[in-house]
Amino acid sequence: MTTSYIGERIQRLEDPRLLTGQALFVDDLHLPQMLEVAFLRSSYAHARIRKIDTSAALKRPGVVAVYTAQDLGAYWQPGPLLVSPPPTIQRISFNTRTQVALAKDKVRYVGEPIAAVVAESRYIAEDALTDIVVDFEPLPAVVDLEQALLPNTVLVHDDLSSNLAAHVIQEKGNYFAIKDQADVIIRRKLSYDHGAAVAMENRGIVADWDAKSQQLTVWDTTQAPIPIMNGLARMLGLSENQVRVIAPFVGGGFGPKIMMFYSEEMLIPWISKQLARPVKWIEDRQENFLATTHERLQIHNAEMALTKEGKILGIHDIFLHDTGAYDPYGLTVPINSQCTLLGPYHVPNYYSEFSVIFTNKMIVTPYRGAGRPQGVFVMERLLDFAARQLGLTPADIRRRNFIPPDQFPYKNEIIYQDFAPLTYDSGNYAPAMDQAIELIEYKKFVEEEQPKLRAAGRKVGIGIVSYVEGTGIGPYEGARVTVGASGKVSVATGVGTQGQAHFTTFAQIVADVLQVDIHDVFVVTGDTLKMNWGCGTFASRGMVVAGNACYAAALAVREKILKLASEVLQSPKDTLELSKSAVCVKGMPDKKISLGELAVRANPLRGAVKPGTEPGLEASAYFGPASGATANGVHAAIVEVNPKTMRVDILKYVVVHDCGKVINPMVVEGQIHGGIAQGIGNAYYEQLVYDKKGQLLTASLMDYLLPTSYDVPRKILTGHMETPSPLNPLGVKGTGEAGAIPAASLFVQAVENALENPKLEICEIPMSPNRLFELLK
């Protein structure tokens, strides 16, 4: 009998550790002689630093050292540009300005680190922050995106001629040539404000330089331990072999933990090396709001040309994108917006132009969705307004524009964030819409329930939206699979894990290939000592890229197992089968050898290993997809708005989702639930509010509202579709961001429908009860 774990709702192998408080998070580390660091951060959004006096801090008992930019010497360097602008885009300009470890002459956002205090405890380090005196010369702050490019505006970077960080134009067809043929033109200004990822675990780093062994060990809440290892080796002038980076259990990532190098990430290892003692820094929640990257502010001026039947002829969109004070993450986010805007629809003509703006705010890098929610918002809103004008239902207008299933692979002609032309590998959109309509009982609601409830004075509404998501991009990930003498299987992969169930899903894949009990498979992620080639966990790519690497490595080990077993059992390979951690001759269950025994034979202490044979039952494999796998979905919801308070209750929420082959449906649903909650937070509760001086007014969980158990959908029904991706052997597509991408667009459509006010048009995210009252006035 063959065991099959792939596709099953397997309970997670990592749960017992997490449920009993035994899982190691970075802040749980206690090393002998460990020092702790607190950062003095800028209280101004924009100011020159005239002088820093740290002498009093140094005198405080328990303080070991205080560092400013001056003390860093040659180590003071702008951080690396993580993602260069796509060389494949023709009309592009980009000004690289990356963050530094400690601000030198000028601060550019509230929260920018100026000095690091190292002390025997965090309590003492924080006391000493108050001893430091900084002489600032405040400057006007660049906050408003639309004013940042006006002449005579103060410059965030003095050496540039304006606050323009980048400018990109991408085009498909010729919008200007077809505009005149349109029956209808829908033109709107649409904006999307900043939100924060707010992983429950704040960032943190522990670095331990051991002078005797000349080894640096770093524990980091990063989503990308291998690039951190490589970068630290380069910055500190060490060989990669001297640096081990471990991302242990990480309490939520959602994008900002893929950013590197944060100032603290450059500094803490350097300090440990200076003092030859372990050093710890753990971010507090206020620092997390001020100094962890965030995302989403864009302002679009968009227009859509349509026929009177509701067919899209073309789209013209010009938008501004806020990158904050620096732009280390290149153009990933705005290019995602530009590309994802096109959605599952056939848009023959597209003109898209964006400007990226430097402002005096924290740096912008991907947050779950990474520019896609904004693109989807623009497209879905334009379709909503067009449908209203043409008297179509939201479902109808979308159906009329879906790319038909025989058009795949579908080429969109513009360049995606992975530098490759945007091509949808596969998809089947109309059935997803049909299934969503059925699950939400659209017809019944609109024809029977809604009129009844409305007659009773209740404001109930329905919405439906669709989207695509480019997932699982390259470059590559690796995995090493080893069968040990005990018969246990170990899997090591470089991607970090922040709750995605990698310990279970990767084990499911390997257990199936090797036909072992899943509890005999032990997965290690995010420890560069165990796997030192790879990239990281981002862009919904863990399962697509690392999952396929695990699969390839397991297949290679299986080959080795069969080859050796064939010699031992003296039977050709094709007569053998793997079953229950052993190999046997088909039909002769007694003629068998266990995997553990084979592992011992593959690694003998005496005798000769045949030339060309590698020792052990081990294989490493890498997987790099040529381009991303395109997932898609349809979300629908029924909401009720209380007209007195504008409280919105989500009575029913339906997701029909196609992420190709599903390894563990329970895990996929969990990812979708969490994404939806974040999307709803984004739509109605969460907003990073900056005042004119660039002060963040919402830097605590009292002011920045996360959705609670009351604010999320009462019920989420999920319908899975499976259009396997042809781009990878497992046929999987990513799913990590799927919930978050369309939720806000859906939320506002349903709220508009509930409020039955023909004049109400929601053109901005987030909404809030206050803002709704204002719009209805």
Binding site: A199, Q498, G499, V667, H673, S709
Partner: protein
């Protein structure tokens, strides 16, 4: 700064005598002085519930208390719920079965809040469960599966009582 106060706190049944600064938070005392790192902290301003422990069987936010205030009291942390990983509390089992945790960082706080809640209200309705966890933030799960897990735990605990 050597004004240290001697305190005795009984954590998960073990009495600990320590000398602490009066400003030391209970959360830091548990995590750093005693090394019981299962209790997590995420905001240190009382909003998220991640740091919840039981003080004499009632849920408290350990980031909002000083260690000296726990002097002479009993504290239960997540480490006190199960003998080992093979013998989970029914609530822990239900969390795993219903996939009520992803990164697991918030989970100790939810468990401790719910232990106290289920003690007070062993047969809650769904709305009561929703209310009971409304002071705990989770950024990963969207809460649906947490509510399902509590329902499952209730039936498990009732079945165990019935035996």
């Amino acid at each position: 700064m050597s004004n240290l106060f001697p305190i005795t706190v009984t954590v998960n049944g073990t009495p600990y005598h320590r000398e602490v600064e009066p400003r030391l938070l209970l959360s830091d005392f548990l995590r750093h002085t005693l090394g019981l790192t299962g209790t997590h902290i995420a905001c240190e301003h009382g909003v998220c519930g991640v740091c919840t422990v039981l003080l004499d069987d009632r849920p408290v936010r350990s980031c909002l208390m000083f260690a000296v205030q726990a002097n002479g009291h009993r504290v239960t942390t997540v480490e006190g719920l199960a003998k080992d990983m093979e013998h989970l509390h029914p609530l822990q089992e239900a969390f795993s079965e219903k996939h009520a945790l992803q990164c697991g960082f918030c989970t100790p706080g939810f468990l401790m809040t719910l232990i106290a809640f289920l003690h007070e209200n062993p047969n809650p309705t769904e709305e009561e469960i929703r209310e009971a966890i409304s002071g705990n933030l989770c950024r990963c799960t969207g809460y649906q599966n947490i509510i399902e897990a509590v329902k499952l735990a209730v039936s498990k605990m009732n079945a165990a009582k019935g035996k």
